[in-house]
């Protein structure tokens, strides 16, 4: 679009990028399915102390895959990522602190 | 601009004058700037420093504004083109006045932390007390329970109770205490008293400004706090967390006494209430589920016992009368003031009203008025399905005067000095 390109001289980052192929999306979905399978398997297989950390790591991985690939944060303008991750980060910090004041982690 | 400076200086003067006046005001029983105990004194020292620092900074800013206003004031620009040099900023200055306040705040922060740690630490100060003839080592502790709209103080003398002992217990099911009183907390002077603050309904806040800052009474929580009075005396307080209708009328007092007087107080409070002559049979029958009637020539106080049994026992407790059958008050909070030693206290209705007149006589007028229609003296919600606050019982004048006669016998009369020190108005 000419209008867009013409303003590239401001801080514009043109919204032009290669989208992954459908096959790539299917492969990503398969990876997500596998991780979910692993997560669910922890319900049946006792893995002891590493349970909660590994669950959280797998959760974060899935979260990251969906927002970067399915929501295109990987390809899209940086400002989207900043806005969304800003909210996410703020929520994380604020509520971790809140739970801490209830001595939540001690229990 | 001249106006502005005059106004500002008048304002500054009036604020200063006000601070001075507030220091001299008579009867300023809640004054936060007149500490009467070590904790409040520590807080006061810290606040004095920050008031001075803040005042100086504030004064400097105001003087700067006034000075600049005078010096650079030109009025409406007649000549549009006369512009002063256009200065956009100065990084050195900016960084300077970022770092300088940060340094000032760091100093204040260190002082704050030191005071904070000290205010929140407790000392081991067990004292020897006699409880029913046996000597106990007692870490002075009072469980403070707020409810709409009065304070209960529970003393566990035979065990050193801590907040963690109570964790998970509802304040409505507290373990039985050795002494339960309301509106007035009696403590030994010169001793640090641990408080365990909780509530039976909504959030209240317990505050005796002369002795320490406040601590919220939160239902489901047992918050530690402490108070200590340097000398025997009476220290006033007021609930400071909005708690509904009669928040303004929820008051309390701390009565600090000598160790000897405190031991005497324990001794009398540990006794069950004395039964007025002529009502012994009635009370004995009531306690054994039997029946008995008063003699025809029974005194007013004895008739008052009967009136108490038939009108008051669904909420109030008198040790020695209905303590065997008492299961808690028919109130939202589940509690009403323990009346066992009512007359040994000098206030009632949430430390709102005097139980004795300043001349030392029993205040029949206010107590009668209270029994006649509590809501006229203190707003409450006694008409809800379950009452909050003392309901209007619709008592006859005769019943009321009997009750007053009985209530005035409950406990030894306090000294005239104590009556006068604790007068509320």
């Amino acid at each position: 679009m000419t209008a867009t390109e013409s303003v590239a001289e401001t801080e514009a980052t043109p919204d032009v990028h290669e989208h992954p192929s459908d096959w790539a999306y299917v492969k990503i979905a398969a990876i997500l399915a596998v991780i979910t399978g692993l997560e669910v398997s922890t319900y049946y297989v006792s893995i002891g102390k590493v349970l909660i950390p590994s669950l959280l790591v797998m959760m974060a991985l899935k979260f990251w895959i969906v927002i970067t690939w399915f929501m295109h944060l990987r390809f899209d303008g940086k400002i989207f990522k900043q806005l969304f991750l800003g909210g996410l980060f703020l929520a994380g910090v604020v509520f971790v602190v809140t739970l801490s004041t209830f001595q939540f982690w001690a229990s | 601009m001249r106006k502005m400076s005059r106004r500002t200086s008048i304002l500054g003067l009036s604020v200063l004058l006000g601070l001075v006046l507030s220091g001299c005001a008579n009867n300023a029983e809640l004054d936060t700037l007149k500490p009467k105990g070590p904790t409040s004194r520590e807080i006061n020292t810290l606040s004095n420093w920050v008031f001075i620092a803040g005042g100086v900074i504030l004064l400097m800013v105001i003087i700067a504004v006034i000075y600049i206003g005078f010096r650079f004031h030109t009025g409406k620009p007649e000549d549009d083109d006369s512009y002063p040099p256009q200065i956009h900023g100065n990084s050195v200055l900016e960084i300077g006045w970022t770092i300088l306040p940060a340094m000032i705040m760091t100093v204040i922060a260190v002082g704050t932390l030191i005071t904070h740690i000290s205010v929140n630490s407790t000392e081991a100060n067990a004292m020897e007390i006699q409880v029913e003839g046996t000597t106990q080592s007692w870490e002075p502790t009072v469980v403070v329970v707020g409810q709409q709209w009065w304070w209960e103080y529970r003393y566990y003398l035979s065990s050193n109770i801590t907040a963690s002992d109570l964790k998970g217990i509802s304040a409505k099911d507290l373990p039985p205490a050795d002494i339960v009183t309301s509106g007035q907390m009696v403590v030994p002077a010169g001793q640090e008293i641990e408080l365990i603050v909780t509530s039976r309904d909504v959030i209240h806040s317990h505050w005796i400004p002369a002795l320490n800052g406040k601590r919220d009474a939160v239902p489901g929580r047992y918050s530690p706090w402490k108070i200590e009075a340097d000398n025997p005396g009476v220290y006033f307080g007021q609930c400071t967390e909005f708690c509904g209708l009669s928040h303004a009328r929820m008051r309390m007092q701390v009565v600090a006494v000598t160790d000897n007087d405190f031991q005497d107080w324990i001794d009398t409070q540990m006794q069950p209430a004395a039964v007025p002559a002529g009502a012994e049979e009635l009370v004995a029958a009531y306690r054994s589920d039997g029946s008995a009637t008063l003699p025809d020539d029974a005194s007013a106080a004895a008739r008052g016992v009967e009136a108490f049994i038939s009108n008051c026992t669904s909420c109030h407790l008198i040790n020695g009368v209905n303590d065997l059958s008492y299961t808690g008050a028919n109130q939202v909070s589940g509690a009403a003031p323990d009346l066992t030693h009512l007359a040994s206290r000098t206030t009632f209705a949430g430390a709102l009203l005097n139980l004795y007149n300043a001349d030392g006589s029993f205040n029949r007028d206010d107590l009668s008025a209270w029994l006649r229609n509590p809501a006229a003296l203190k707003d409450n919600a006694s008409t809800d399905p379950i009452p909050r606050g003392m309901p209007n019982l619709g008592l006859s004048e005769n019943t009321m005067s009997d009750l007053v006669a009985y209530l005035s016998t409950l406990g030894p009369k306090p000294t005239l000095q104590q009556i006068q020190q604790t007068q509320v108005n």
Binding site: L90, S100, T101 | S22, V50, P77, P85, T112, V119, N425
Partner: protein, 660 residues
């Protein structure tokens, strides 16, 4: 979101012809009296409506304040009994925060942001109208509790549980509180999304971030605070509503709930809310003080960064409202320290404003008086704020009148007075005539003296031990003198407000006989002053190319070889004429109003009878669909009278770059 609104299309050569909207309401054409106001999507008209409504609620909240002060004027006052007192002070707080200060700031934000960034309108004009209508319906809903809810909410604006539960607050007041604030929250959230998008995306060519006027900057920070704070209070309000209406157990301590959860959620919102109130005023100071000092803002980037820093740090201090609630000494210490250091960026701002005045040529016109006065009042409030960031000291001060004094110095002394000063400053831009200067100065002095008489003594009262929220006090505590003074002060403030209203009326009446103020009566610095007064409907004839900070000032003035300021163009030469035709403007719409009307109905339905919610829900949902199907621009519409969007645009650079 089903509402996918197309961005403004300006000067299109080939308008998108969409289908006619559903037949219920034809797309209004605008320009016909009251219907124009109901269907307008013009940010300027919406801003004016915010302002008018906010001033109305200022009177409401002010009357409540006078009732409070009358009751407390003497010991054992008899004006209000406990129950009405509790309702009045609760509604006073809610009205002043949510229905006066915030919307008055929103009024200026709406009016000024597009002008300051050189835009035609906000990014989503219809969503902008939606915000306003939802806000006004929430405001009416909240106040309707006086008539249909059995009195106002009686739990304080902070509404701590469990006192807010049905058992302790049996009237419907608290239901109106919860649902009313939810509705108001939707309005603010929509507005935040809209304005953030506007500032990020609608800046004129060349307006890089460090050329954005400080008012717009501060409003942007404010909108971010709203964006992130509102969801938190939303959660809390839903919990409260579910507890009260459906019997859930969020705040019932008897079943193991913790009342402090409410406090955390409330203050995670409530503390940023404080900055939501004052940051816009910081922006206003930063516009007015340079203008009347005839100097650029000292340390622009530091003022901007300290505003952003305040926005960030505002998220880390909420529990200082809970120092005495038993959150534990470690938490208290942490929040005490974080609170202290928020004083640093605040101090930086104050020093920069003072430095701006230094070496200037100061003209104490009414807006400048208000701003300097408000900065001073803010400093007093800031210093008293520092005193209670010290947790041990705060245990004596919290919940006393000392706190009342502190936040009124901030919210009224800085917030309200700053906004009133802004009224004087931008009045000619908005209405095309000046407000009377002499009456303005009377207003300022009365308001400032009144405010110091009212809130100054409260410092003393608080230190004397007078608790907040008490409806009466005994004569023995020594509170009588200063309460009497405070009450006199409150009536002085009320008088000053009457002077302001008289000024509005008189200035309007006198305007035809006075010289036209022109586009730039104050010799100001930012873009809105290059437009004719009042601002033409289409804002800019052509979107200006931005070459620097204070663009408008630099179009008027340059420097000679010695670095002295010289005029390079008169206002008449530099200003836009406002006579452009053929500007394509967004079409008005009734749907925002209809969506908003449904919301209070849903609220009444939840409280009284769920059947009532049905028409409300249908109205809201139906209007949303109709809205989505309505074309963003009605091809048949004529906008702004003479503007005809079918012609090829006569504008250069109105929508695209000159180079294109």
């Amino acid at each position: 979101m089903a509402i996918v609104e197309k961005p403004l299309s300006i000067g299109t050569s080939e308008p998108v012809l969409a289908d006619r909207p559903l037949g219920v309401l034809t797309r209004p054409k605008g320009g016909n009296g009251w219907r124009d106001w109901l269907s307008t999507v013009d940010h300027k008209k919406i801003g004016i409506m915010y302002g008018v409504a906010a001033m109305f609620f200022f009177v409401v909240g002010g009357s409540e304040a006078l009732l409070i002060r009358s009751q407390l004027a003497v010991p054992n006052g008899q004006v209000l009994s406990a129950d009405p007192y509790n309702q009045v002070y609760t509604m006073h707080g809610l009205t002043m925060v949510f229905l006066f200060v915030m919307p008055l700031a929103a009024a200026f934000a709406n009016y000024l942001i597009p002008l300051q960034i050189g835009a035609r309108d906000v990014a989503f004009p219809r969503l902008n109208a939606l915000s306003f209508w939802i806000w006004i319906s929430g405001a009416i809903f909240l106040n309707s509790t006086w008539l249909v809810g059995g009195g106002g909410a009686d739990c304080g604006w902070f509404c701590y549980s469990p006192n807010s539960g049905v058992v302790f607050s049996p009237s419907h007041g608290v239901d109106f509180y919860a649902i009313g604030l939810l509705i108001l929250g939707i309005a603010s959230l929509v507005s935040a999304v809209n304005l953030i998008t506007t500032v990020i995306n609608m800046r004129a060519p060349g307006m890089s971030w460090f050329r954005v006027p400080v008012f717009t900057w501060m409003m942007l920070v404010t909108q971010f605070l709203l964006l992130f704070a509102l969801p938190v209070i939303t959660v809390a309000l839903f919990f409260l509503m579910f507890d009260r209406l459906f019997g859930s157990q969020f705040f019932n301590p008897d079943t193991g709930a913790d009342p402090l959860l409410w406090q955390h959620l409330f203050w995670i919102f409530g503390h940023p809310e404080v900055y939501i109130v004052v940051l816009p005023v910081f922006g206003i100071f930063s516009e007015i003080i340079p203008t009347f000092s005839r100097k650029p803002l000292f340390g622009y980037s530091f003022v901007v960064f300290s505003g952003i820093a305040i926005g960030f740090m505002g998220w880390g201090v909420w529990a200082h409202h809970m120092f005495v609630s038993g959150i534990g000494p470690v938490s208290v210490a942490a929040f005490s320290l974080s609170t202290m250091f928020i004083a640093v960026p605040t101090g930086v701002k104050i020093l920069n404003w003072i430095a701006t005045m230094w070496g200037g040529k100061i003209w104490f016109a009414t807006p400048m008086l208000f701003s300097v006065g408000a900065v001073t009042m803010f400093t007093i409030g800031g210093v008293s704020g520092v005193t209670h960031s010290l947790a041990p000291v705060d245990t004596q001060q919290t919940d006393t009148y000392y706190i009342v004094a502190h936040f009124h110095y901030v919210m009224f002394g800085a917030g309200a007075l700053g906004l009133l000063g802004a009224c004087y400053f931008w009045w000619p831009k908005i209405f095309g005539h000046m407000l009377n200067e002499r009456l303005g100065k009377v207003h300022f002095w009365l308001a400032t003296i009144g405010m110091n008489l009212t809130f100054g003594p409260m410092h003393i009262l608080g230190l004397q031990g007078m608790s907040r929220r008490i409806d009466t006090y005994s004569s023995g505590f020594g509170f009588a003198l200063w309460n009497a003074v405070a009450t006199i002060g409150a009536f002085t403030i009320a008088t000053s407000l009457l002077v302001f209203f008289y000024n509005i009326w008189k200035s309007k009446k006198d305007a035809p006989n006075l010289p036209d103020p022109g586009p730039d009566p104050w010799d100001a610095r930012s873009l809105e002053w290059m437009l004719p007064s009042p601002t033409p409907e289409h804002n800019f004839d052509e979107v200006p190319e931005i070459n620097g900070l204070d663009e408008w000032w630099h179009r008027k003035y340059g420097y000679d070889d010695d670095g002295n300021v010289v005029r390079i163009a008169t206002v008449e030469e530099a200003a836009q004429k406002g006579d452009a035709t053929n500007v394509h403007l967004p079409s008005p719409s009734f749907w925002p109003l209809v969506v908003a009307i449904g919301m209070p109905l849903i609220g009444y339905g939840l409280i009284f009878n769920l059947w009532l919610a049905v028409p409300g829900g249908l109205a809201t949902a139906g209007a949303l669909f109709a809205w989505a199907l309505e074309p963003a621009d009605d091809p048949d519409a004529h906008h702004g009278g003479s503007h005809d969007d079918h012609e090829a645009p006569a504008l250069t650079g109105a929508d695209t770059n000159e180079e294109s």
